[in-house]
Every structure is written in structure tokens, then in C-alpha cells.
């Protein structure tokens, strides 16, 4: 039992290194898949023990004591990462081109698992950096600018966390979560950490986790990084890696919750710091969804959509009530599952057609039927259509937000889900329906491993949609208290109920009735796409009948006031200024003539003299 955790965390890394070493097409895929499968096996094996007590493992590395612990809560996060990891591995079997991608994909997999399981800050920081670096290398291969933007932002986040850890270490003298939590708890009375310092700590940790989760002002890296990496890896990148940021926010509550509450009190009945997180989440949802609707590139659309969906989770945690946490955790699972599925579908499309822009695609529904079916499931789940997992988690978040009297934040969810519906239908129209461009006629269905990966991610979508009780019952156990009542098929909260099975049955009943009415009419005759009403004009094959570019032009016009400002351009300008400053600094200081150098010496002597005498 003891070294189970070590195998669980470092199996993917070892497999990655082996896959990189034996860079042969057949072997590295097998090794990579095994590396991704081991965590799933171990997690399944430890499910029973985790419910009762936690598994611990400590090693001392370089003078630091690294503690790894598997409790019910981080088992949940690890399981989510494992599911998406297996799907990614299957996806990468057909889309990866070299051992390089396997090495860094599995290294980031190790990083995420390590982050979820570590119980002390040094191990947490080490594996966090490892995860960031590995995902950066996946993007560096394809696009330098985007990858550097991603790395600079995440490194700023990581170093902010480093500063936070150092301050905590200076204040409490400890590095592992348990003692820090205890020290901070006792600190309420002593007050060693002042209001300013705890504000600084909160901001530092919020930036660190905000960057990784893609919260509003720091989300600019997501579209570039998600769309440039190998698409099947992006399913893991956006499905599991963004969960590390969200796990961090959860950690913030566990460690500093009481302290922050004592320092900042409440605002209209909500914890002030939680209120800040809720509003960041809400703004992320609205902004990212609006941007997602206006995108022309399939990868950019899903990247912004992924940022928006993680905004939901932030919002749910920001609500602060236990129902909020339950909703957030459920959405962690459902987001990982349907977003992972979307990215695998994108991977299949790009793999088969080689196109990424909406204007070049179209009419793929007949050519790739299975991928289309998977895409449809993901669409239903993301836009929150009742029998799907997406709806169950979003429903919990609604309940939590409105119950906690956060009306405007709940309003943001409504707007966000409307927009989600819009860009998801945009994806359906641009890629699957309408007339097929002539160069896409010989497109075949995606290769088998990719299809299996999609199937693996589609099943939980339906399973947890029809029976959300499975997840909420586990969450109740993880939190130890009865947050969401009801059995496997029914969710009962203090103010509302949602019987998933009944909704599904009635929906099937409704479909049956509608089907009967449909069959009653005359038999239908299939006609080609060109036989459509164009005010009577004859339509021929090579006249494209679909509107794929600028699908939401009117919305862009309605929003042009807001679209003038872009955080992306803002950060690029800052980077430019910093680089110019660096250059002027170099020119002014190292200007190359000795006289000025010796003047520097004289100045230092003067300072020493003044210093010495004073």
C-alpha cells in the first residue's frame, strides 16, 4: 500500500521517458498507453480504502519532507484526471508524431497527479512547475509566441505562489499543509499575520491559481496554448490541467479560509474573499463565452469555451456554501468529460481533414458519423440539456448561487449558458451540416483508438447525466456531511429537486409520441442539398450554400463597444515595454567605456563612506 502512491504519481513520467527513448512508432504508443493506464488501475484499487481512511507516503528530498496523501477529496480529482488521461492516451495513439510528445504529455500527467496528491508546499510547487513546464514544451514545438506567452504567465503565477509559500514559511516556520493550517487557525488569536500580509498572501495565491485556471484577467494564454498543442493532448490540457488551478482555490479555502474570514469579514452575508472569487468566475464566464461565440477557428472556439466553463467552477467555489462546493466539484467532473470529448472530436476532424477554420469545413456528418454522434453528445452536455451530466452540475451551481443570495452572479450563469448554447450550435452548423466543400469528399472516419477514446469520455456524460446521484453521493462522503440528498437518480437540495431518470423517461416518451406523429405522414423521399428553395433559382453543385464565416456578425456589431478593449493586446504592449526598458537599461549601464565604469566604482565608494560613517 505504501508505495502505491509513488507508482500512481511517477508511472506516467517513467513511461514517458521510456516512450521518448524507444522512439519507434509501435512501441512508444504501447508504453505511453500503459503509462496512462496504471493510474486508473491503482485509483480503482484504492477506491474502497479511500472512503474509510487516507493513504499516506512521505520521503525526504533535499532536506524537505514531501508528504503525499490520498484522501476522498483528492481521489476524486485524481480520478477525473485519470479518465481524461486515458482518453488522451488513446487519442495520442493516432495523432502523436514523435516520442517527444509522449514524454511531455505523460510528464504533465505526472505533474497533475502529484499536485492533487501532495500535502506539502514544496512537493506541490515542484510538481506544479513540472506540469507547467511539460505542457509548455508541448506547445513550444508548434508555436513559439503562444508558448512563450503561456509560459511567462504561468511562471509569473508559479513565482507568485513561491513568494506566498516563502512568506508562509517565514511566518509559520512549516511547509506541510497540516501544520500551516493549524498555525493559521491559531493565528486568529495571536494575529502574527497582519491584514495587509494576509491580503498579499491571498492575492499571490489567487494569481497563481487564477493563471492556471484561466480566470478573467489572466486567461489570455488559453486560446493560443490550447489551439497550438497536439489536439488530443489539449483534451488533457484543458480537461485536467485547468483543474489543478481549481484544486488550488479549494486548497486556499482549506488552508487560509478561517484566517481570511477573520481578516476580511463578510460582505452582504458572503465571505468577502469568496465573493471576490465568485465575481472573477462570473466575469470569466461572460467574457470567455462572448469571445468564444465570435471565433472563426474551431480550436480557438473550444479554448475560450473551456476558459468559460472553468469560470463556472470558480464561481461555484466562490459561492462559499457547501452546496456551492458540491456543484463546483460535480462541474469539475462534467467539464473534464465533455470538454475532453470536444477536444478529441476536434482532433479527429483536424486529423482527417487537415483544416482548422470553419470556412473550409462543412457537411461532415455523413462522412464521420460516429464522431458526429460523439460531438452531438458533447454538445448536449455542454449546453446543459437536461438528461446530460452538464445539466446536473450546472443545476447544482444555480441552486447554490441563488440560495446564497448571489443574484447577479446567477444572472451571469444564465447569460453564460445561453452563449454556450450559441457557440455550440455554431460548431454543429459550421462543421457537420450544410454543403460539403469539394476537397473534403474523400474524408474517412477517425482511426479506431481515437474513437475508443471518445467513447470512454462519452459514457460518463450520459451515465452521470441520467444518474447524477452517483457523483453527489461520493461528494457527500468526501465532505463527510449530507449536502445533496436523494438517491442515485434524484438530487434533492433544501430548495429544489431534479429527478434525472424521470426527465429522461418523459423525454423518451415525448420523442416516441412525436415519432408516432412523424410516421403517420407520407413516406419521406431523400433529396440532395442542391434541391433547396433559392427564390426559384436553379442551384448547382459547386455553389456553396452555407454561411460559415462571420456567423454571428450582428452580435459582433452589438458588442463593438466592448470588443475595442482586449487584455491580450494590453499584455503584449507591457511585454514590449519591458523588453525596450531592458534594452535601454543595457545600453545605458553597460555602455562600454571604462571611464563610466570607474565612475560607478567611485559612486560605490562614496556610498560606503557615507554608510560607514553614518
Amino acid at each position: 500500500m505504501i508505495n502505491d502512491l509513488m507508482i500512481l504519481i511517477f508511472a506516467p513520467l517513467v513511461a514517458g521517458i521510456l516512450a521518448w527513448a524507444f522512439d519507434v512508432r509501435g512501441i512508444r504508443e504501447a508504453i505511453g498507453f500503459i503509462g496512462a493506464a496504471i493510474p486508473v488501475v491503482i485509483l480503482a484499487k484504492t477506491y474502497q480504502t479511500v472512503l474509510s481512511n487516507s493513504i499516506n507516503y512521505t520521503i525526504t528530498v533535499g532536506g524537505f519532507k514531501l508528504i503525499f496523501q490520498l484522501t476522498a477529496l483528492n481521489w476524486y480529482f485524481a480520478a477525473v484526471a485519470a479518465i481524461v488521461g486515458i482518453a488522451m492516451a488513446l487519442g495520442m495513439i493516432s495523432t502523436s508524431r514523435s516520442g517527444y510528445e509522449w514524454l511531455f504529455a505523460l510528464m504533465s500527467y505526472t505533474g497533475v497527479l502529484g499536485v492533487f496528491l501532495s500535502q506539502d508546499f514544496i512537493g506541490f510547487f515542484l510538481l506544479w512547475e513540472l506540469m507547467t513546464f511539460a505542457s509548455f514544451m508541448m506547445v513550444l514545438r508548434n508555436n513559439r509566441h503562444e508558448s512563450l506567452k503561456y509560459f511567462v504567465l504561468s511562471v509569473i503565477g508559479a513565482y507568485a505562489m513561491m513568494l506566498g509559500i516563502a512568506i508562509l514559511y517565514a511566518k509559520t516556520g512549516a511547509l506541510d499543509f497540516a501544520t500551516i493550517r493549524q498555525a493559521l487557525y491559531m493565528d486568529l488569536s495571536i494575529g502574527a499575520i497582519s491584514k495587509g500580509e494576509s491580503a498579499l498572501l491571498f492575492v499571490l495565491f489567487l494569481t497563481a491559481f487564477g493563471v492556471k485556471a484561466g480566470a478573467f484577467p489572466l486567461h489570455v494564454w488559453a486560446p493560443g496554448a490550447y489551439s497550438e498543442a497536439n489536439q488530443s493532448y489539449t483534451s488533457f490540457f484543458s480537461g485536467a490541467l485547468s483543474k489543478a488551478g481549481v484544486y488550488g482555490i479549494l486548497l486556499l479555502y482549506i488552508l487560509m479560509g478561517a484566517k481570511l474570514y477573520a481578516e476580511f469579514g463578510t460582505f452582504h452575508g458572503h465571505l468577502t474573499f469568496a465573493y471576490v472569487i465568485a465575481w472573477i468566475g462570473a466575469i470569466t464566464v461572460v467574457v470567455a463565452s462572448f469571445l468564444a461565440v465570435l471565433q472563426e477557428d474551431i480550436r480557438k472556439l473550444f479554448a475560450y469555451s473551456s476558459v468559460g466553463q472553468v469560470g463556472y467552477i470558480l464561481l461555484a467555489f466562490g459561492v462559499g456554501t457547501s452546496l456551492g462546493f458540491a456543484g463546483g466539484l460535480f462541474h469539475v467532473l462534467s467539464h473534464a468529460v465533455f470538454k475532453g470529448l470536444f477536444w478529441l472530436v476536434t482532433a479527429a476532424i483536424i486529423l482527417q481533414t487537415g483544416k482548422t477554420k470553419f470556412k473550409d469545413m462543412g457537411g461532415l456528418a455523413e462522412k464521420m458519423p460516429f464522431t458526429f454522434a460523439m460531438g452531438l453528445i458533447a454538445v448536449l452536455s455542454l449546453s446543459g440539456i437536461p438528461p446530460m451530466a452538464g445539466f446536473a452540475s450546472k443545476w447544482l451551481i444555480y441552486e447554490a448561487a441563488i440560495q446564497a443570495h448571489m443574484p447577479l452572479v446567477a444572472g451571469a450563469i444564465f447569460l453564460g449558458s445561453g452563449l454556450a448554447f450559441a457557440y455550440v450550435v455554431r460548431f454543429l452548423y459550421a462543421v457537420w451540416f450544410g454543403q460539403r466543400p469539394s476537397d473534403l469528399d474523400n474524408v474517412k472516419e477517425a482511426p479506431l483508438p481515437l474513437l475508443i477514446g471518445m467513447a470512454i469520455l462519452a459514457i460518463p456524460n450520459i451515465l452521470f447525466g441520467v444518474a447524477p446521484g452517483l457523483v453527489t453521493e461520493y461528494i457527500n462522503k468526501a465532505f463527510g456531511s449530507e449536502i445533496v440528498g436523494g438517491d442515485y437518480f434524484k438530487l434533492v437540495t433544501p430548495t429544489g429537486t431534479y429527478n434525472a431518470l424521470l426527465v429522461t423517461i418523459v423525454l423518451v416518451l415525448g420523442l416516441a409520441i412525436a415519432g408516432l406523429v412523424f410516421l403517420y405522414g407520407a413516406t419521406t423521399r431523400k433529396i440532395p442539398v442542391t434541391n433547396t428553395y433559392q427564390s426559384g433559382n436553379p442551384v448547382i453543385e459547386d455553389y456553396n450554400l452555407s454561411i460559415r464565416r462571420n456567423f454571428y456578425k450582428p452580435l459582433a456589431e452589438a458588442l463593438d463597444f466592448w470588443l475595442k478593449y482586449s487584455w491580450d493586446r494590453f499584455y503584449e504592449r507591457i511585454a514590449g515595454i519591458a523588453e525596450d526598458f531592458a534594452d535601454t537599461l543595457r545600453q545605458s549601464f553597460y555602455n562600454g567605456n571604462v571611464q563610466s565604469y570607474s565612475w560607478y566604482l567611485a559612486i560605490v565608494l562614496l556610498i560606503l563612506a557615507l554608510w560607514g560613517v553614518l
Partner: protein, 299 residues
């Protein structure tokens, strides 16, 4: 799973027939009222039933593929589901197991069905119709949400049956000032949900000839007409339940539904049509501001 207790099955079947019939009658009322306002005689009340029968009676039907057929079927199925979860008069049906958010979402699902079918027909007019339909839906989502949140916050519960019970005790929602604002917002949004005049950009007859439903003929159009009828009935019932205190018996509910319908018809017969970005800008200006005020008052 659920013991098949025949009482519910009968209730469901009866309700479905009643709702479809009354839905058609409401569409008839709509056309008749519009005609009477324009001092025309106007078609008989049962005209939509005739139209649907004629469409069903078409000798042959044309289809652009599986999804083209699945669209209308899914739309009608979803609307029937939505209907069965609303507490209509004293019939419980399934409303004990679902709350406001579930019904609000179920009322939006038919939009996806129609969009699916319209898009797969590959006709540019229907594509423009789909785009406008989605944008209207996006535009109205915020005020719609705010109105619903105001209600839930005031009554403190999500269950529709509970809200109806509370209203019967404390008086209708519109008697509460804050919820009156929510009523106004919901009424504007109701106009867009039904696709009536100021916001009927979706099926703008003159511009894009019937919008998404352009390629539908024969039994597909019949399906869409029945779906529109059931949706009309469901939405008016939802409106009545939320704001006008539901009803103990069908007659009372019918009166309230027709009252709501007439408000919509009067507004529809006066206003010209908004273009889509005007509609979006309008929705995010006045209704949202009123909605925010309503929500803040009830918190």
C-alpha cells in the same frame, strides 16, 4: 422503477390532448385577434387545426437526411416533456420532481431541435434564420434569468408547486412590487420566446421567408406547428404559474393564459420588427436594468 399507476398515465394522456387542442385554439385566437384589430373578419378559431391537418394530409414528404427528420421530432418531444413538468391546475403530473430551473431549460431545448433540423437542410435562408434565432435567445437569456431569480429569491424555493402554494396563501406574485418589475421583464422576454412581432426576426416573413422553417413541408411542418401549439400552451401556463398564482382548476388557468396571450397579441400587433442587433442592444439595456433592480429588491 416507478410503479405504473394508471392515474398518472391517464392524466398525462388527457393533459397532452387538452394542451395540444388548447394550443391550437390559442394560435387561432392569436390570428383572430390580430385580424379583429385590423378590422378584418379573420379565420375561424380552429384554423390552425385545419392547417395542421392539411399539412399532415400532404401526399408526399421530402427530407434532407436523418437529422432533418430528427430535429422536429426532438423539438416536439422536448416540448411535451417541458409541458408535463409544469403544475397545470390541480394536476400534479410530474411537477413534484422538477423545479423552476429544469422547466426553464426544458422550454429552451426545442430551440435546439428546430436549429438542428433547419441547419441540416443546407438552405442559406434557414441558416440566417438559425443565426437570428440563436442571437435572440442569447439576448433574452440575461433578463429571463434575472426575472426567474427574482421570483425564486422572493418565494425562497425552486419548486413550482411550492411557489403556487405560497402564492395562493400570500397573494399573486405581481402584487409584490419587486416581482411586478420581474413581471414586466418576463413579459418582454415572453414576447421574444413566442417569436411575436417586435422580436419575430427569427421567422421574418418578408426578409428570409419563414426563417428556419423554410425547408419544412408536409408532415415536418405539421410537427413544428403542433410543437408551436404545445409550446404556446406550456409557456403561457409557466407564465401564469409564476406570476399569476397558478390555478386550482383548468378554467381559471385558461382565463389567465388567455389574458397573458392577449397582452402579447396587443403588443405584437402594434410594434414594427427590431433588427437583430437592435434587439440584442435593447434586451441588454432596459429589461436587464429593470431585472437587476427587481433582483436587488428581493435579495
Amino acid at each position: 422503477m416507478i410503479g405504473i399507476d394508471w392515474k398518472i398515465v391517464l392524466e398525462v394522456i388527457g393533459m397532452l390532448i387538452y394542451a395540444t387542442f388548447m394550443g391550437f385554439i390559442f394560435m387561432g385566437i392569436e390570428r383572430k385577434a390580430m385580424a379583429r384589430i385590423q378590422r378584418r373578419v379573420g379565420p375561424p378559431l380552429y384554423q390552425p387545426i385545419l392547417d395542421t391537418l392539411k399539412l399532415l394530409g400532404k401526399k408526399e414528404s421530402v427530407s434532407h437526411g436523418l437529422i432533418y427528420d430528427f430535429g422536429p421530432v426532438f423539438a416536439l418531444g422536448a416540448t411535451i416533456t417541458a409541458l408535463l413538468f409544469i403544475p397545470i391546475a390541480n394536476f400534479q403530473l410530474f411537477s413534484s420532481n422538477a423545479d423552476l430551473i429544469v422547466v426553464a431549460y426544458l422550454l429552451e431545448v426545442p430551440m435546439l431541435g428546430i436549429m438542428l433540423g433547419a441547419m441540416s437542410s443546407g438552405n442559406p435562408y434557414s441558416a440566417v434564420g438559425v443565426q437570428r434565432g440563436l442571437l435572440t435567445m442569447v439576448a433574452m437569456q440575461l433578463p429571463y434569468g434575472l426575472a426567474l431569480i427574482a421570483i425564486v429569491q422572493h418565494w425562497g424555493s425552486f419548486k413550482l408547486s411550492e411557489i403556487v402554494a405560497l402564492q395562493s396563501v400570500h397573494g399573486w406574485s405581481i402584487t409584490v412590487p419587486a416581482l411586478l418589475l420581474a413581471f414586466i421583464v418576463f413579459d418582454i422576454v415572453f414576447q421574444a420566446m413566442l417569436g411575436l412581432e417586435p422580436f419575430d426576426i427569427i421567422t421574418a416573413p418578408a426578409e428570409i421567408s419563414m426563417g428556419p422553417m423554410l425547408e419544412y413541408g408536409g408532415k415536418h411542418a405539421a410537427l413544428l406547428f403542433t410543437q408551436h401549439a404545445v409550446q404556446l400552451f406550456a409557456e403561457t401556463a409557466f407564465f401564469a404559474v409564476l406570476f399569476l398564482g397558478g390555478a386550482s382548476n383548468l378554467i381559471e388557468l385558461l382565463i389567465k393564459q388567455i389574458a397573458v396571450l392577449f397582452i402579447a397579441i396587443f403588443v405584437a400587433s402594434i410594434y414594427p420588427r427590431f433588427t437583430i442587433d437592435q434587439a440584442a442592444k435593447f434586451f441588454w439595456k432596459w429589461p436587464t436594468i429593470i431585472g437587476i433592480i427587481a433582483v436587488l429588491l428581493t435579495v
